[in-house]
């Protein structure tokens, strides 16, 4: 079944959303780089789940939300999105700042979410090391720091293999501005989040790349410790983008954890 693009209105903000697949609802929240569309891992997961991958307000082709100040605003917004899109109680996958958003959503309303997958989420202050200051580097520099080895990324050419068009540069700039708006200070973390995570008893899978140079892999251990019902899987030879660096393995991890594989 081919995915489709829809615009869903939430609180007066239009949310550009990729929708596809069949089965129980699965909400996927993207990272600071923006919504990469219907990538390989999504297509695989959509064989078992109805996937909704919205573009955050202020990003990509979604409407503006200059009034937002932090990831907690985005988390409240996406809880509203769940209602607006009529998703019931979906599984939730979030990557990087999308993972942070997912974690905040779970602390605010654990009953609104079924199972939770956090992929290299920011949100916690690392006990060791620092979160890379992504705004301090140019986008090309950042890309080289984000993945472990471009040669092993199956979709490299589709995603990054050509020079961006002016329209794509405009969207990338917009994404970066909105990411800055949401995460500038305290940089990429919420000092209060650790106090609320123990509320989240939802079964949780945490996925990290061993060679993540953006968010220290030790943060995965912090999340695992704070969440009462969480497992951590660390992928070898993988950087900050497990869903695109190792799409097959990542999709399999998600399917196994969500149980969709068994429902066939």
């Amino acid at each position: 079944m081919r995915p489709r693009e829809e615009t869903i209105s939430v609180g007066g903000v239009s949310v550009h959303t990729w929708i596809g697949g069949q089965g129980d609802p699965l909400l996927v929240l993207h990272g600071a780089g923006g919504n990469r569309g219907w990538t390989r891992w999504l297509a695989q997961v959509a064989e078992r789940f109805t996937v909704l991958a919205p573009t955050h307000p202020g990003f990509g082709r979604s409407g503006d939300a200059d009034w937002m100040d932090g990831i907690d605003d985005l988390a409240r917004f996406h809880l509203w999105f769940i209602e607006a899109a009529g998703l019931g109680r979906p599984h939730l996958v979030g990557h990087s700042i999308g993972g942070w958003t997912a974690a905040e959503m779970a602390t605010m309303s654990p009953g609104s979410i079924d199972r939770l997958v956090l992929v290299a989420p920011v949100g916690l202050k690392p006990e060791k090391g620092e979160i890379l200051d992504v705004f301090y580097y140019s986008p090309p520099q950042l890309l080289t720091m984000t993945v472990h080895d471009p040669k092993t990324v199956p979709e490299w050419d589709e995603l990054y293999g050509r020079a961006p068009t002016p329209a794509e540069i405009e969207i990338a700039t917009r994404n970066r501005e909105m990411a800055a708006r949401l995460t500038w200070k305290p940089y990429m973390h919420n000092p209060r989040l650790a106090h609320f995570l123990p509320r989240v008893t939802n079964p949780t899978l945490i996925v990290w790349g061993r060679e993540d140079r953006v968010v220290p892999v030790e943060c995965g251990e912090q999340y695992r410790r704070l969440l009462p019902n969480a497992d951590l899987t660390v992928l070898e030879r993988c950087g900050h983008l497990p869903p695109v660096e190792q799409p097959e393995i990542f999709a399999r991890l998600v399917l196994d954890f969500l149980g969709g594989h068994n429902r066939r």
Binding site: F135, Y136, Y137, S138, T173, R176, E177, A180, R181, W184, K185, Y187
Partner: protein, 376 residues
């Protein structure tokens, strides 16, 4: 045309090859190269030069503020204004300026500026700036909020100066439940306000609407004219007439008895244009700090960055003026004719330009150049 003396108070007290090892002298060059003894002596020297500029007849003393850079170790413009307010007698004290978006407490700023105005006998010209990206990093202020904070900080300072307290301020970025500053400026209703410009049409329009003195910094003449047009557009919106007194321009300038000596001294300005501006784009223009219009204008305003221009190109482009007093008068007159400005701000000391050379230049400016351009 009025002349203003300005030094960035540089701290060029380290081997250049050490600075070259880092992506920029700003933010990244480690402060273990800060020489405390030399800095202590330099502050005395720079303040002496300002005091001499006051005595020599400059109309104003311009001071500015930067952070995390050896190019400018004047890290507190209000502090310097207070010192000069006490040790000088005549010249205006032009703060250009306070970096509003990075300010956490506009009420304190309103108080400090008022105190400097009182100490100086009402000589403060209060410049408000948006700052460069480096200061945004230094203060960890969200660059996305830069313009909003600039405008709101300005509005609150103005209210502190012009409306009786106590009052409450609940804005977008600033929140004060009890504003009642017991320190108000001597000048009524408040010190004149100045704004610099390098690339943002929005700032020019904003200043034009309010009648603030607007000063492009180190841009080609055609860009300055374009920015002045934006200023006039803002002025026209509110029916305000623009005069030379509303417009200024900033260049680097030094004079000496001979052209050769002046040209030798003028070379020190190249450091300010080159090594101190060398940095990745993100340092000076972090994401969201500039509007799309501002970013596009900046590209046109600087088709080549100042850092890539040779000394001769900087002289030819009028970014640096170096010559005998007669030659300098000639150049300044040309600037006045070309741009119609009433204020010419002279960055008149830089890098390792020594004290005797600086003092002689100030002396010659006072004796010959200032009288030579006063009638323009």
């Amino acid at each position: 045309m009025k002349l203003y003396y300005f030094s960035e108070m540089p701290h060029h007290e380290f081997p250049d090859e050490e600075g070259d090892k880092y992506p920029s002298l700003r933010l990244e060059f480690p402060n273990r190269f800060f020489d405390r003894e030399k800095a202590a002596a330099n502050y005395q020297r720079y303040l002496t030069e300002y005091e001499f500029a006051d005595q020599a007849g400059f109309d104003g003393l311009m001071i500015n503020e930067h952070h995390s850079t050896p190019s400018c170790v004047n890290v507190g413009v209000n502090m310097t204004a207070a010192v000069l307010g006490r040790t000088t007698r005549r010249a205006k004290i032009l703060l250009l300026g306070n970096i509003l978006p990075i300010e956490e407490n506009p009420v304190r700023m309103a108080e400090q500026l008022a105190m400097a105005d009182l100490i100086s006998g009402g000589r403060v010209l209060s410049g408000f700036v948006r700052g460069v990206g480096v200061e945004t990093w230094w203060s960890n202020t969200n660059p996305v909020h830069n313009r909003e904070r600039f405008e709101e900080c300005h509005d609150l300072i103005l209210k502190c100066w012009t409306e009786p307290g106590p009052f409450r301020w609940e804005g977008r970025h600033y929140h004060f439940r009890h504003v009642n500053p017991w320190c108000l400026p001597l000048q009524k209703p408040h010190p004149p306000i100045w704004t610099p410009g390098t690339a943002s049409p929005e700032t020019a329009v904003w200043a034009g609407r309010r009648g603030y003195t607007y000063v492009p910094f180190l841009v080609p003449f055609e860009i300055a004219r374009e920015l002045f047009d934006y200023y006039r557009q803002g002025a026209a919106e509110v029916g305000r007439t623009v005069t030379a007194d509303n417009l200024g321009f900033l260049i680097c300038a030094v004079t000496a008895e001979t052209k050769a000596k002046a040209l030798e001294a003028g070379r020190h300005f190249v450091w300010r244009m080159g090594p101190t501006l060398r940095a990745p784009t993100e340092y000076f223009a972090p994401v969201g700090m500039r509007s799309r219009a501002g970013a596009q204008f900046a590209l046109r305003a600087r088709p080549r960055s100042l850092a890539t221009l040779s000394y001769q190109e900087l002289l030819d482009g009028q970014f640096i003026v170096a010559g005998t007093p007669d030659e300098v008068i000639d150049r300044f007159s040309r600037i006045q004719r070309e741009l119609g400005v009433g204020h010419l701000l002279l960055e008149a000391q830089e890098s390792r330009m020594d004290h005797p050379t600086t003092m002689r230049s100030i002396e010659l400016m006072g004796a010959k150049v200032i009288p030579g351009v006063a009638a323009l």
